[in-house]
């Protein structure tokens, strides 16, 4: 059992992590560390994605056809693997966003109701 799985902060629902990754790649291609920093930034530090969760998700999403990867140079001239959204990935981001909107609205209403 690897330690990062016990970490509540990063123990995200799989769908949520996928959505965050898709979102962080919406504007530009990015490497692994970049993606996790972007997610931290987007969530104002609520979600810290560790490599043990990030890499399996990236590889799975690549196999799903949502992402493509290529090797390139990082901002400080280091070799890094960059990920980029495909058209399927963009469609997935859209549908995830809509679904999430519906769910969060429903939950918010449910919590207010009482």
């Amino acid at each position: 059992m690897s330690p990062d799985r016990n970490d509540d902060q990063t123990n995200l629902l799989q769908g949520t992590l996928d959505m965050m990754i898709l979102k962080s790649l919406a504007l530009d291609q990015m490497h692994g560390l970049g993606i996790s920093r972007r997610i931290e930034q987007l969530t104002k530090g609520t979600f810290q994605v560790k490599p043990g969760s990030l890499f399996p998700a990236l590889h799975r999403m690549e196999e799903e056809g949502w992402l493509v990867s290529s090797w390139g140079e990082s901002e400080n001239n280091r070799r890094a693997k960059f990920y980029r959204l495909t058209r399927a990935g963009r469609r997935q981001l859209n549908s995830e966003t809509q679904r999430w909107g519906r769910i969060s609205l429903a939950i918010a209403r449910a919590l207010e109701a009482s």
């Binding site: 690897s2 890499f55 056809g65 280091r78």
Partner: protein, 903 residues
Amino acid sequence: MPALSRIKNFFRNIFAKHRADRDLDDEVRSYADLLTQEKIRAGANPDEARRTSRLELGGVEQVKEQVREARAGAWLDSLFQDLRYGAHMLRKNPGFTAVAVLTLALGIGANVAIFTLTYAVILESLPVPNPQQLVRYTFRSGAHDFGLSGPLYDALRKHEDVDQDLLAWGGGGTLTAQEDGLATNVEGELMSGNGFRVLELQPFLGRFFSDADDQIAGGPNGYQAVLSYPFWKQHFHADTNVVGRSLSINGTEVTVIGVLPAGFQGVAIGQPPDIILPLSFEEILNAPHPLRHAPGRFWLTVIGRLKPGASLRLAEANLRTTEESVRADADPSHRFLGGFFATFRIGVERGGSGRSFLRFTYGRPLVVLEILVGLVLLLCCANTALLVLARVSSRLREFAVRSALGASRRRLFRQAMCEVGLVTFFGLMAGIALGWAGAKSLVAMLAAIGQPPPLDAAPQAAVFVFTAGISVLSALAAGAWPAVRASRVAPILGLKEGGTGSTSKALGRWIVPVQVAVSVVLMAAASLLGTSFFRLLLADSGFRPQGVVLAAVNLMETKVTPAVATQLAQQIVDTLGAAPGVDSAAVMSQPPLHGWWSAAHYYSLDQKGVLHPDMQTWQEAVSADYFATIGTPILKGRGFARADIGGAPVCVLSASAAQNFFPGEETVGRFVFAGGNDPALDGKTKADPKDTCRVIGVAADAHFQSLHQPPERAIYQVVPQNGVGVIFFVLVRSSNAQIATTAIRSAVRKVAPAAPAPTVFTFNQLLAEHLRQERMLMALSACFAAVALLLTALGLYGLLSRNVVMRTKEIGLRLALGAHPRDALSSVLWQGLRLVILGSAAGLIAAFGIAKLLRSLLIGVQLDSPVLLIAAVAAIFVAASLASCIPAWRAARVDPMEALRYE
């Protein structure tokens, strides 16, 4: 194209694994690199940055393993890897592999063998639509399972209303079929015209006969016949023009109208017909004395198809209310159903598998064997679990290291299971081979004297499914538990010095007592079945079997009358009496313990004038030297002498017949009268002198029908005052069975050259055949018990030896501190014995249960003393002590210095 990309990745992951792996490695390392750079830029010193980023990463290998698991096709890939690794580990440990495979092969093989038989004898259905709707009517008393008489069939058909219809099926025997002057012997069976409709069979070729065709002199088109598929293929070379051809069966013309479907071999299992004829044809075959309407001939297998909604229970209830009127209708005279066959009851049971003599004899023993063999499998699984556990616990370090290096729990579990799976696979293969060989020899054991094996134990699909099922179950039972333990190992264990877990000990504490308990049960069952066999074998049967050779002489084909047959029998005995090497020779009308049945009507008047009728007297016609030859002692009076032959009728009674006819009175010199088959007339008419015989002696009781039943009340009359039939039995007492056999064969050839060669067998063979059910149970349960004992001893030995190895350091320390080697010895011994005591206690309780079960399932099993159970437990104790001794002795010989220097 998500699907396409997934497939592409699947193949990449499988076939270009190394490249993908290198790529992944690069990626994770580059991530670590970037992280370090980030920290350095934030102001950390390079070493500190590298350390914290590695901590944050949580290990390159773990991350890689997690990615690999997320990949498509990862499971397949790692499965191959695990299988390869498992095979490698098995090759490296040939001892473990051999013992584990053998243990499983034994358990699976025994189950396959018994199940093959159970399937063939009990479970297999007739190849007809909806066999579960079929019921069979029976006529039984004790060990006799008769068919129904023709009148009983007719009466049953008239009275019962739960079946759509009832068919009757009877053996026609070996017939002569002639076509264009060419004669062949064929096995003929007879079936009522409605039979094909009741069975819902469809012809392979042509059509079947129906009620309209089943009449005296045949139907509108004369007698008609249906051929079996194999006979049609072999004899008619699968000629489709066979339909319409005419055959002469025992001299009567019949027309072939159809061919049976390939799988259908009749409703009497083990007696496949070549040709099926309408039931009414019997009246031609057995003219002038047909059986069809004889109230005292019980030869028909009666099968019905239940109406929709009716059940077996309903049929039973219906039968109970109608049995009396059925009996009255079938035999208005009450001579047979109320007299000779009064002890027989009509019954109804499931008929979907047809009528099988094997099922009647072996049905219950097979249930018993299934239970025992299931226990053996349990034991084998327990042993395999112990073995796997030993393997796992000796590799706990390895598992811990692998877990520390990033292997997931699931992966570790699967890896341990892979090894078990491989062992099971090889065990299964060996088990199937063993099982089929076993089934073959078991079937050979079932064969009657002079008969081929009674059934075909060919591998069946159902047996395959069953075997696969038990194998998967045993693999799970044997492997899952240890594998779970292995997968839960804490990574830290791998880093600790000498860290070997204690899990195996805890598990062994459960498995060994279970093994002991199961062994006690199996030992108890074996001793119970063994004693009931030997009790029957050694019981006083009323005969002295040693040195007696018998022969069945059949003069049926020579067409002689019973009177001539009796003369020939006397001549054979005279010839034999003069033959060298023969002590004495005799003839008897019915052989003992060979499934024969005899009931005759006699009565007597005691001194108070009270009438003692008996319609179930065993009537035996014997020649003068019978008692000396077969060894039945004469208790009072004398046996027959040659002088009796010409004189007034005389007889010898068995002790129980004497007690029945003349209770408490002197018997010798009194008279017994042959009844007229009508008890109402007993004593009312003056007995004909030729029906009156004077009792000249009383013989000891003898078991003619069965050793399980009380002896028959027998009356012996001397040949030729009372004749033998056209089938009779010659017996010879001789010190050399070979000489006796040759003498019998040549005497029969000389006196009756036209008769077929007689079937010759020794009395001991007869006895063995009579007890073959008990013998089979005894032999198999003894085998199972031996296996149980061996496996339990091995299991205990393995557990204790491993324990001693693990405790070497501790024992050494104790010895160094002044403990006596005897303490080490007794500590290990006690450790083993404690488990045995626990298991024995549980086993004893279970053994009483199994004894009860056996007694309810089998006739003749008695739990007469707890001595046997105690002996069973004692045997386990001895085996367990022996198994504990070696490890205990090793513990006592531990050298303190060496033990402390260890590791």
